[in-house]
């Protein structure tokens, strides 16, 4: 199981790095989708199968397709890529991005005494248990997330479908 974990972890990091670095935007999105699949595999290794299924359904099937649609609608895919891809302060950004995990996260993880084996491998997050938890103590959170999702999706539709006013149509239906 350790070998499977390291293989999947390597695939995840490779997928995420390719998504950041590759010049072609569609390849970057496909690499991100591959990263989502590998991360779902790691969730299965950590015995959280429902979360793995939710990850594939929502991230791969939702967010991945959404990003592909957004790329097709902003069709400048490789036009800007003729010059460099990096932003102006990119060297400083890259330095910070390498320094933050190396100096903050990884020493904090390696210096803390952590348990070696899973303490409660018997606790399984089956859909029945998750449903009971959601409908039991998690009802306010469920309400809030549903309101947030509704507001976010309606807002996204409103933002994305506004037409910019043309030169001669300031009045609209009064014509």
């Amino acid at each position: 199981m350790t070998v499977a974990f390291y293989i999947l972890a390597g695939l995840c990091v490779a997928g995420a790095l390719c998504a950041m670095v590759v010049r072609n935007l569609v390849y970057a999105v496909f690499s991100m989708i591959f990263f989502f699949f590998s991360l779902a595999g790691i969730y299965v290794l950590l015995l959280a199968e429902f979360v793995a299924a939710a990850q594939v359904l929502v991230y791969v099937g939702g967010v991945g397709i959404l990003v592909l649609f957004a790329i097709m609608l902003t069709r400048d895919v490789t036009g800007e890529g003729k010059r460099h891809m990096a932003s102006k302060g990119a060297w400083l950004g890259g330095l910070v991005a390498v320094a933050v995990p190396l100096a903050l996260f990884i020493p904090a993880v390696w210096r803390t005494p952590l348990p070696e084996s899973p303490a409660n491998a018997a606790v399984r997050a089956t859909p029945v248990e998750i449903g009971m938890a959601l409908m039991g103590g998690g009802v306010p959170a469920l309400w809030l997330v549903s309101v947030l999702l509704t507001a976010a999706l309606i807002g996204a539709v409103v933002i994305a479908t506004q037409d910019p006013p043309g030169p001669g149509e300031g009045e609209g239906p009064a014509r």
């Binding site: 995840c12 991230y59 967010v63 800007e80």
Partner: protein
């Protein structure tokens, strides 16, 4: 067996990769992809801590991750709608060109 240290180190590396993409690239969609990578690294942290620790509240880990996935999907939708709206008026998704508020 997988150790908690390996999981947390891997999650920290993933977060660093996402941060690298968000701070380095100037294409708006790539920055949104980097934010999704960072959110997934945080989700992996939650699941790792849930699996490796004894706890009375048994479903807190997957529940939090499910809410996080939902919020990340909603944020991706709104972010991409903003990218489409900006593209419509600026004809570019270069983040360095979005500077009309610059003093």
């Amino acid at each position: 067996m997988i150790s908690l240290k390996a999981c947390l180190t891997f999650s920290a590396v993933l977060f660093g990769v996402g941060l690298f993409g968000a701070l380095t690239r100037r294409h708006a969609v790539i920055v949104l992809i980097s934010i999704e990578v960072m959110l997934n690294a945080a989700n992996l942290n939650f699941i790792a801590f849930w699996r490796f620790n004894p706890h009375p509240e048994a479903m807190a880990g997957p529940l939090f991750v499910i809410f996080n996935i939902a919020i990340a999907a909603a944020e991706a939708a709104v972010g991409l709608a903003l990218v489409i709206a900006v593209y419509r008026s600026l004809r570019s998704v270069n983040l360095e060109k979005v500077d009309s508020l610059k003093g």
